[in-house]
């Protein structure tokens, strides 16, 4: 017997480097464009140059005759194939649904709409032939602005959507009641704010490969996917009408998604259809220009805010009217974003007794808009965090004080915000605010700001706060799936944990990574809970063949929902191992202790059975307790009782050049509370990336269409995603308020940074100009906008 060893260090809480990174960052990963198949053909898409037009005719003869061209198809050839489904419609209201066809039929509604597809022996030949397809169009009038699209006389996109309205949706109290509260409020502020359109810009664009096997009648789809099981379901049952079991979907390594790879796109069913037609595997891989033009965009809200408050800063009434631009058609879950995930979150961290939210979803001749990192919650946080600063400006109170006076208090949890969101699980908002203010040295900054203003400094100092709460781990099925929220399906997750005969452990999960480090975080969790070495644990994912059904990775739900399924499977395995140990050690199961991968009779740890011993015994199976099945594995389908609600406060300090409006990011302090943390390095990474994306919305990014519907920020030369030198050093800190919703006490960390940072940065910049009478400016806050805002008012 080996002498008693020291208990191994727990891995949960350790900043382990991501085990997947060496492969992903040295070119050894297997991304979609790395998949090589015998006989592979390449598809190139002929796209509309017009934002709105009738297709008069398509002449593909010249293209068909070009060398290397296998086939050319147009919308007419696919007339029998269903359009894509819209799986999440706004709850309890009528949705005027129009979804894209695989190839446009009759009319195009945005620049980039696919009208024909060329399949050729190489991507070069396909691109050349696509350019030779002649399409004649009759141009139709165009509208790109959501408010203008709803006005009388605006160009109409779809027959079933009068005034281009997708849906009108409300939440909270009746408008009249909130109007009365507003009328009674001594402090009133009205403000229109624009949450501009963003382009997700995942490092890897989107693509798909389809292969039809004539022998078996089976289809395989490789896709840059955040949700392979859902893509299989939708492709099979809603679009192609192929039995679900005949389609296998594989997501190879996926290079980022930020939401844009949740959705079912035209090319996924199309490559399968093309493969069946041509008898060859077919690949479509969009280039960056196509990605910018036609893969979904995010945000794009115009919002009118009316707020009422007491002179002491307490907000008494909030009325919000939002026009949400959803683009030319509905993407897979588009209507759910500005309703459930936006409207129901506008209260933020604050107790506001009277809220009315009114959202109009609108069709325009632009790219489809759907979930983008944060999905609705960044828009909500932007509204409420601007509200806090507007109330501060109106009352003369410090912005921190306004927040403090309205915060939901620790004893209020679980807290119902009164606008149809599930109860916030746990929180301590003031603690995070205090910590952030202390870390940044808030009082001293305010003194310096006052001093600079007094001495006429050319460098204006601005300090911006953002206290946020967001909803993560979106579920439970019986809330989100029913008519009120309109998701129309479950939102549970699944996991199978299997200890092999050799003791090596395989976890198959319906959750999957596209850059988040699942293979590391999940293995840390399993190593601790099961007591098997970290290196013995394999996390398998991203293939519908061999993993149990999962709804996918988005909404910061992989750990809280998918991770809990793993946790519970491990617990089941442990229970079985204990039962087996009791049998082998000739003891009662209730006397067995399981610790650090060893089972022993309480008080006699030296006579133990390791998990590896037990795995062997369970597999050879000649000495099992009566009735016990062989092997050591368990599966869990987990549907949580509630969502989780991470929160925190971010503070940004900026310097604005009085002469040019140029902005310097001096400091960025974040205090996040994501509950218990499995891997702090990964959480920090998520927060870093999130902040970069959010501050980019405040300062740099913005998709711009001209009046003809052309995307004038169609390349990275015009659309500004931040470079390393454009972001500050992040000063991170955490408070820890465990979530009561799941056994790990985790809340989710994938989107928090994005949600918090946009208002923190915008508030800082506007604060720098506050003494000049500036109350609000729309993003992105470009130097020219600031320069104009600072110019002496004339006339």
């Amino acid at each position: 017997m080996v002498a008693a060893q020291e208990a191994p260090a727990k891995l949960v809480g350790q900043p382990l480097k991501r085990r997947e990174d060496p492969r992903l960052i040295t070119g050894a990963g297997n991304f979609l464009d790395d998949v090589k198949l015998t006989g592979l053909c390449h598809a190139a898409v002929v796209r509309s140059p017009y934002a709105h037009a009738r297709i008069v005719g398509i002449d593909a003869e010249a293209a068909r005759r070009m060398p290397g061209v296998v086939a050319v198809f147009t919308g007419e050839d696919l007339a029998e194939v269903n359009p894509l489904p819209c799986a999440w419609q706004a709850g309890n209201v009528q949705n005027n649904v129009n979804t894209p066809r695989l190839l446009a039929l009759g009319e195009v509604h945005q620049v980039g709409d696919p009208v024909a597809v060329v399949v050729a022996e190489s991507a070069y030949l396909a691109t050349d032939a696509a350019a030779a397809v002649e399409v004649s169009y009759e141009e139709l009038p165009v509208v790109v602005d959501a408010r203008k699209a709803t006005e009388p006389g605006a160009p109409q996109l779809h027959d079933n959507a009068p005034n281009n309205v997708v849906m009108n949706w409300t939440c909270g109290k009746e408008a009249a009641e909130v109007d009365a509260a507003l009328a009674a409020a001594p402090v009133r502020v009205n403000q229109r704010v624009v949450n501009q359109r963003l382009i997700p810009t995942a490092m890897e664009p989107r693509g798909s490969i389809g292969r039809y096997d004539e022998g078996t009648g089976e289809y395989t789809l490789w896709a840059t996917s955040q949700a392979p099981h859902v893509h299989r379901l939708l492709t099979a049952a809603f679009v192609l009408g192929v039995p679900e079991q005949k389609i296998r979907v594989i997501a190879p390594n996926v290079g980022g998604g930020f939401g844009s790879k949740i959705f079912l796109y035209f090319d996924m069913p199309l490559v399968l259809w093309l493969s069946k037609q041509t008898g060859r595997p077919v690949k479509f891989f969009e280039d960056r220009s196509e990605n910018y033009l036609h893969t979904t965009h995010g945000r794009d809200h115009i919002t009118d805010i009316e707020v009422g408050a007491e002179p002491d800063g307490r907000i008494t009434a909030l009325k919000v009217k939002t026009w949400a631009n959803l683009g030319a058609y509905l993407s897979t879950i588009a209507p759910g974003i500005p309703t459930t995930l936006y409207g129901r979150m506008v209260a933020g961290c604050y107790k506001i007794p009277n809220i009315h939210v009114d959202v109009t979803g609108v069709y325009t001749n632009t790219a489809m808009v759907d979930a983008y990192r944060g999905a609705g919650r960044p828009e909500a946080a932007f509204v409420i965090e601007r509200v806090c600063d507007l109330v501060a400006a109106e009352t003369g109170l410090d912005p921190a004080e306004v927040r403090r006076r309205n915060f939901i208090q620790p004893e209020d949890f679980p807290y119902d915000s009164g606008i149809g969101m599930l109860p916030y699980d746990s929180g301590n908002y003031e603690l995070a605010l205090d910590r952030a203010m202390e870390n940044v040295g808030y009082a001293a900054l305010r003194q310096e700001q006052a001093a600079r203003r007094a001495n006429g400094s050319r460098k204006l100092l601005g300090v911006g706060l953002s206290s946020y709460v967001e909803v993560c781990g979106v579920a439970p099925s019986k809330w989100i799936g029913l008519a009120g929220e309109g998701w129309g399906a479950g939102l549970w997750e699944s996991a199978n944990v299997r200890v092999h005969l050799t003791g090596k452990t395989v976890v198959t999960t319906g959750s999957l990574p596209h850059g988040q480090g699942h293979e590391t975080t999940f293995a840390q969790l399993v190593a601790d809970e099961l007591g098997v070495p970290y290196d013995d644990i394999q996390i398998e994912h991203s293939d519908t063949q061999g993993t149990p059904f999962g709804f996918g990775s988005y909404g910061s739900r992989s750990l809280t929902v998918g991770g809990t399924a793993i946790y519970k499977s491990v617990a089941k395995v442990r229970e079985k191992a204990k039962e087996l140990a009791a049998h082998l050690l000739e003891a009662a199961p209730e006397d067995i202790v399981f610790e650090n991968g060893k089972a022993f009779v309480r008080g006699t740890p030296d006579a133990s059975k390791t998990i590896q011993d037990l795995a062997l015994a369970a597999h050879v199976a000649y000495d099992l307790p009566p009735g016990m099945e062989p092997t050591l594995e368990a599966t869990t389908f987990y549907d949580p009782p509630n969502c989780t609600f991470p929160f925190g406060t971010h503070v940004c300090v900026v310097e604005v050049d009085r002469d040019t409006g140029e902005i310097d990011l001096l400091r960025y302090v974040a205090v996040d509370d994501v509950g218990n943390v499995i891997n702090p390095l990964i959480v920090d990474g998520q927060v870093h990336g999130g902040i970069a994306q959010g501050l980019a919305q405040a300062l740099y990014e913005g998709a711009v269409y001209d009046d003809s519907g052309e995307l004038i920020t169609g390349t990275m030369n015009d659309y500004a995603i931040p470079r390393a030198r454009m972001v500050p050093t992040y000063e991170l800190d955490r408070t820890v308020t465990p979530s009561p919703v799941n056994p790990m006490g985790a809340k989710g960390a994938g989107e928090a940074g994005t949600i918090a940072s946009t208002p923190a940065v915008a508030n800082a910049v506007i604060d720098a100009l506050a003494h000049l009478g500036v109350r609000h400016l729309d993003m992105p806050l470009t130097p020219e906008k600031l320069w104009r805002a600072m110019a002496p008012k004339t006339g």
Partner: protein, 286 residues
């Protein structure tokens, strides 16, 4: 992002390169490829052939004996890291550092930048401010083109289609000379929204003997700000003269506007950036 079909040539001498260009009227010279290849991938350019200069002898290197001579194929990274240039012409390494990012600096070339004549490029303005000229080799031998005559319009130079730009010449500075390049970067492209290069020489009497100020980003081609130059000559280089020059920096220039920065804003930036460039040029006089 797949270019049209093209032929590829990799000559080893300038004469050979010129020969290929003559036989292929739609051919293009390939230097670092950081402007040409993106344009081809977007199918904005479709040359019938590329003439790759990477294996042509004698097109790289920096010589600083008296006047400075830089080979056309010298990369930004080589300019950025050159100790000789840091001593002789610090504006050159400084500007190279501000071109794009390290990847672009590693591959992009000075000759490529000048031959491309992007209206927002950095070195076009610096070349004007330094009174540089380029050597062009064609079928009929070589000729020298002053920078002022090289830039014709946006993306248009006076190089003939079959000419290869081989060298950049910069005259030695006379007297005490200060120089600086100030750039307002576009947040997406990294190119100049406004860039101002200033090279100022002060005579023994302490007044400005010569001032060359050139702007990029704001106009359809890099252009000298002659009004600002004239405001300095004969004056001591002081806060007052700098302010006076900055105030007229945009005089006589036709300015561009786009959705990121209007012509009005660029006009304003020209003043501020001219002041900043001159202040640093003055400080560098020692």
């Amino acid at each position: 992002m797949f270019p049209n079909q093209f032929d590829y040539h990799r000559p080893t001498t300038v004469a050979e390169a010129v020969g290929v260009l003559q036989q292929n009227p739609d051919a293009k010279v390939l230097a670092g490829g950081h402007s040409l290849l993106p344009a081809m991938k977007l199918r904005l350019a479709a040359p019938s052939a590329l003439v790759d200069l990477s294996k042509v002898e004698g097109l790289t290197g920096i010589s600083t004996n008296g006047s400075v001579v830089i080979g056309a194929m010298t990369t930004y990274a080589e300019l950025r890291d050159s100790a000789a240039l840091k001593a002789a012409l610090p504006i050159v390494p400084e500007t190279a550092y501000h071109v794009g990012d390290p990847q672009v600096q590693a591959v992009g070339t000075l000759g490529g930048s000048l031959a491309h004549a992007d209206p927002s490029a950095d070195f076009t303005a610096v070349a004007l401010a330094l009174d540089a000229s380029v050597k062009a080799v064609g079928a009929d031998g070589d000729r020298t083109i002053p920078a002022e005559e090289l830039f014709v319009d946006l993306f248009t130079t006076s190089l003939a289609p079959d000419e290869v730009l081989t060298e950049i010449h910069i005259p030695a500075a006379t007297g005490r000379t200060g120089m600086a390049y100030e750039k307002f970067r576009h947040p997406a492209s990294g190119y100049a929204v406004v860039g101002v290069a200033a090279v100022v020489s002060v005579g023994v009497d302490g007044t400005v003997a010569q001032a060359r100020i050139a702007v990029t980003g704001a106009t359809s081609k890099a252009t000298r700000a002659t009004a600002a130059e004239q405001a300095l000559v004969g004056k001591p280089l002081s806060a007052d003269s700098i302010a006076a020059a900055a105030a007229v920096a945009n005089q006589g220039l036709e300015l561009n506007g786009d959705h990121y920065a209007s012509a009005e804003y660029r006009a304003h930036l020209l003043g501020v950036y001219t002041r900043r460039a001159l202040e640093r040029a003055a400080a560098s006089l020692g």
